[in-house]
Subunit: 477 residues, 2 copies
Amino acid sequence: MQTITPILLCGGSGTRLWPLSRQGYPKQFVPLAGTGSLFQQSAERLSGRGRGVCFAPPVVVTGADFRFVATEQLAEIGIEPGAVLLEPEGRNTAPAVLAAALHLAARDPEALMLIAPADHLLPDRNAFRATVARALPAALAGQILLFGIKPDRPETGYGYLELSSPTSPAGSATPLSRFVEKPDVAEAARMLASGRFLWNSGLFLFRACDILAAFLTCAPELLAPVRAALAGARADLGFLRLDPEPWACLPDISIDYAVMEKADNLAVVRYCGKWSDLGGWDAVWRAALHDPEGNATSGPAIGIDCTGSLLRSESEGLELVGIGLRDMIAIAMPDAVLVAPKDRAQEVKQAVLNLRQRQAPQADRFAKEHRPWGSFECLSRGERFQVKRIHVRPGGALSLQSHAHRAEHWVVVEGRAQVTLGGDTRILEPNESIYVPQGARHRLENPGADPVILIEVQTGDYLGEDDIIRYDDVYAR
Amino acid sequence: MQTITPILLCGGSGTRLWPLSRQGYPKQFVPLAGTGSLFQQSAERLSGRGRGVCFAPPVVVTGADFRFVATEQLAEIGIEPGAVLLEPEGRNTAPAVLAAALHLAARDPEALMLIAPADHLLPDRNAFRATVARALPAALAGQILLFGIKPDRPETGYGYLELSSPTSPAGSATPLSRFVEKPDVAEAARMLASGRFLWNSGLFLFRACDILAAFLTCAPELLAPVRAALAGARADLGFLRLDPEPWACLPDISIDYAVMEKADNLAVVRYCGKWSDLGGWDAVWRAALHDPEGNATSGPAIGIDCTGSLLRSESEGLELVGIGLRDMIAIAMPDAVLVAPKDRAQEVKQAVLNLRQRQAPQADRFAKEHRPWGSFECLSRGERFQVKRIHVRPGGALSLQSHAHRAEHWVVVEGRAQVTLGGDTRILEPNESIYVPQGARHRLENPGADPVILIEVQTGDYLGEDDIIRYDDVYAR
């Protein structure tokens, strides 16, 4: 059986699901719906063998900021990526797809690639795999396959695919007649009724050689810079950092616009299962399970006499109460809360811009910061002190470092930590503590199999993250 | 000039302003509007001399749980109470007023008393004092004075006072014709138009002997138990703890119902200044400053295209964003969020009941717990550890104590702490730490003039507040 390489596109940093999705840790890595993150669900769905398809290890395309998150999340579900390409900057989907295609074609020009945005919801794994299987013959015959979603409402937020003839649910690929831009309501209703239109999902299947041929015809100007970015790529701890210089010359352009809308060997397979791009809180509400009044709640949230509303508390210790809400969304986090009517969910972007103008850190960052060795969050802050909860994953090691302006008290509360201080290295068990004087070289590591949790109390006249001198770092930072 | 003793009633524990007001630390002690807490504003308004009145130190009537909060808040604004009566249980206003009257009458039967709920907003201090001055002659002549608020809208949530004749704003007391229960909208509109009806504010002025005579006539059954509760009262660190046994026999009854609606020597003075009982979030919105679209925001909160809405973030680190809200309230705290249409604000009570049923601590308690020596809050919690931020006010001292199930690491981050451990006592400066082993006797004190802030990391198999053996406590707990 021919294997298919999933290309997981997860460089996005959308703000439409703020405050749960933020630039520093976007939607695809967040547990938004279903079990695990959307990225994990995507990787899982497109792995292994079954239902007529067999997947090779995925190629992940993401930004440098997310490299450790992505590999750690894959490790959590036992998936080893085939490659992780790091985009120096986001340039939309066309350069990302082209880079992946060139990367694969170098070893096998006929390699089958399944392009998958890593932030969509496709809960029926088997149905989707069966649809991929139906698409395979046409892809092997040189066609570029688009997956079209059977619409269930006159949606005006998506592009549509018009088929040259109606398809049956179990049918094979059908030639594409044309793309339709986001329609108005009347047009959307007409298309829904006709049965010949599907939503353009952003999922594609093709051979590397076929998409490269399409790029050569439709968007030849992208080839040279992407080739150069790959040729100049630097291998770094298993990541492939694309060369920033040629990459910077690339336009921000989608694969639809660069290639699909111009290519002539397009075919469509219809997918009838549940699908959502979770492109806004209204979409998250729609994709969620509802109570009889149409409310979707998650976390410690209650709706009293509410209808058609989405109430999410994203923290165990945060009670969200909605009373008498009609078609509203309320998203509560300990550092940010959003309240809006469901039909204005798309305006969340404006809110984020507003927060950025006010330099509110919540615009783009979470209280919990992720690092290659684990994560930390600030628990409390004063003028001359800060308290952090530090989580070091098994095998994780902070850099060997010192601070010019602060001293640190460490108390290990879970796991066994290996602490280097000056020339001395020792193990700290739970309930053991150590003092790291200002200026002292120190390192924190987790040599065990369980996570280490450590409480750090910093004191000093300057407590910024940039007061760090690194002497050695296993993550090459 | 005759002095007036303010009787500050602050035993209430209403839930209508949840999540900002909770049973464990209710509305009157919270900075809700204006500068300082409502209790502090009330005490300040009714202190000193000026505008034709002179106030004696206040008598505070509150519950035992709030005794330290009340005296600490008074100390903050430099007011020494005349007495603090502690109700063993809340029994509404009649027993509280009676206890205060008996307490004052023991020294001076003709003592003038101004009864003031401590959780109302009366921002114009001078206007109110001038109104009190206008009421004085009638009170000195043996009348029971009610303060009636000039209505500015057909409010259906208040009781009304009907005057025997219209009064002028600057007029003296007018005899009361009758009480009117909360009316319907049509009736309220009619009363507003007539000019002869005022809102019953719950503020009263009378001599102790006159209200005692009225109790004797109108509610004689209350006298014996309240007398007994005062006779059996126990002085405790400056507080007067009323005897719980006779107190328990008292009914829950308001001063209006027990006395005012039956007495025949009632007179009314009209108050034309701004007043609010802040009896719900709708009232808080009404009393607040509004932008041109009618929104009132406080804390880091933004409304994008909102109208007529109240957006409050109660924490510096919590961004609240409302989009497209119409006449909504959204109150955000790090551990609880409320969202409701303004006209359903009164249903917050149901929400609190619901949270209680689910045993959510947010129903009644704050993350920050107040103690006579200061306060603490839990910053982080795991199965076998807890991190607290402890604030010890100048002169404060925790009890000499030990814990059977936990050890504690203390790091002083602000101020100078005096620590007793076993037989040893020493001073810890900022950035100094100490380890308190499981079972060790220890005490934390603040001998300095600045607050002490200390980070405590607890580890152990049980971390409940009830794991405490007290050997000595300056607050007689």
